[in-house]
């Protein structure tokens, strides 16, 4: 509703513009991550600040937050020392990326502007596994790569403000307790707006 009220000033080119992008994100664990958390996470946000170095290319930083959680029904786990543990296991993972990001806009100044991009950097991973109410935790700043495709819908043709819809894949190596990575597929939808009026 807020978006519908927005009025936009048209700009002819995007070069030199610095924009902030705020996205709601949903993530779907894949690969080894699914052994920890199989449920998708609908509790996420990502924030970008991107500077257009020309009409097609922009560089910037990405950060954000994604909260993964899953509680498994009570089960008996056999441990290496021969003991048996009956517990409700809850896995909780929060990821906070900090990525250097590059976007390439295939059709600047169009009504729909598809783009591709990549982010490379680190991710502050907060991992906790609970057996009942007793937890084991591991915090680690892990490597992250994030290839991405998306489309930008300016509110007015060529305008610097609009909606961004993206799909991306998070590659996060994370070796702990049998887990080898926290890879996930993500989708995001958000608002992109310039840091000042043009």
């Amino acid at each position: 509703m807020v978006i519908g009220l927005v009025s936009i000033s048209t700009v002819k080119g995007q070069k030199g513009i610095t924009k902030v992008e705020v996205n709601y994100s949903a993530n779907f664990p894949t690969s080894s991550f699914k052994d920890l958390v199989n449920d998708p996470s609908f509790r996420g946000i990502d924030l970008k600040i991107m500077h257009n170095i020309n009409d097609k290319m922009s560089v910037g930083l990405t950060t954000g937050f994604q909260d993964f959680y899953q509680k498994y029904p009570r089960a008996v786990y056999k441990l290496d020392d021969g003991s048996e543990v009956s517990a409700v296991v809850s896995n909780s993972v929060q990821t906070v990326p900090l990525l250097a990001t590059f976007h390439y806009n295939f059709s600047p100044a169009q009504r729909l502007q598809p783009f591709a991009g990549v982010g490379v950097g680190g991710n502050m991973v907060l991992y906790r596994q609970f057996l009942g109410e007793f937890s084991d935790s591991k915090n680690k700043f892990a490597f992250q790569a994030q290839p991405k495709i998306g489309v930008y819908f300016p509110f007015r043709e060529g305008g610097p403000t609009g909606l961004t819809l993206s799909g991306y894949y998070n590659i996060i190596p994370f070796k702990y307790n049998g887990t080898t990575n926290l890879n996930s597929f993500g989708v995001s939808l958000g608002i992109s707006f310039p840091t000042r009026s043009y």
Binding site: V6, S7, V22, I45, T161, P194, S197
Partner: protein, 211 residues
Amino acid sequence: MKTGILSFIASVSMIALVTGCSKEPLNNLTDDESRIYITNHDSTVNFKSFHTFSIADSVAIVNNNQPGGKDQTAFDVQFISALKAAMVQQGYTLVDKGSSPDLALAVTVISNDYSGIISYNDYGGYYGDYWDPYYWGYPGYSYYYPTYYGVYNVNETALAVDMFDLKDAATTNQLKNVWTALIRGEGIFNTDKSTTQVQTLFNQSAYLKIN
């Protein structure tokens, strides 16, 4: 400018909404779910070789790794009774301890306290950084703290069951522990949970039976 302001408001709302929806695992556990049951046994022992058992009629108390006497609360009685029933269900025969039982069972309540002291002087010195006396209308003044201490105490309690081999005691000259169980978590001393808890211990110890 209007665009930027509205976009900013929408963005902040989105951040507040998402971060407010994070799941805290401990807030999503019932008392039953908070409990863990740990069992272990001597893998060289054949539990089918035992036939009779006896169980201590009271519970040993261990406080901070020190003996704390024995107790026999309503819960203790119920829990011991549930243990007897479970052993009988597994094919063992309950006998008096004077009748040379093959196995002995005992229950222990383990209680550990952790204490700490906060000296108000330790953090009070930072008050001025948060609320300068100017805030209260007294510029140039400083805070003064008498020697106050805050004491906090954390208590953790667990319930243990141990099983000893009496049948072979004369041969080995010791009462060897052949099975141990530990229950930790919330609500372990609720009287209506004693049977369920004992059943959980035996369900995960499939080797502990004759029949």
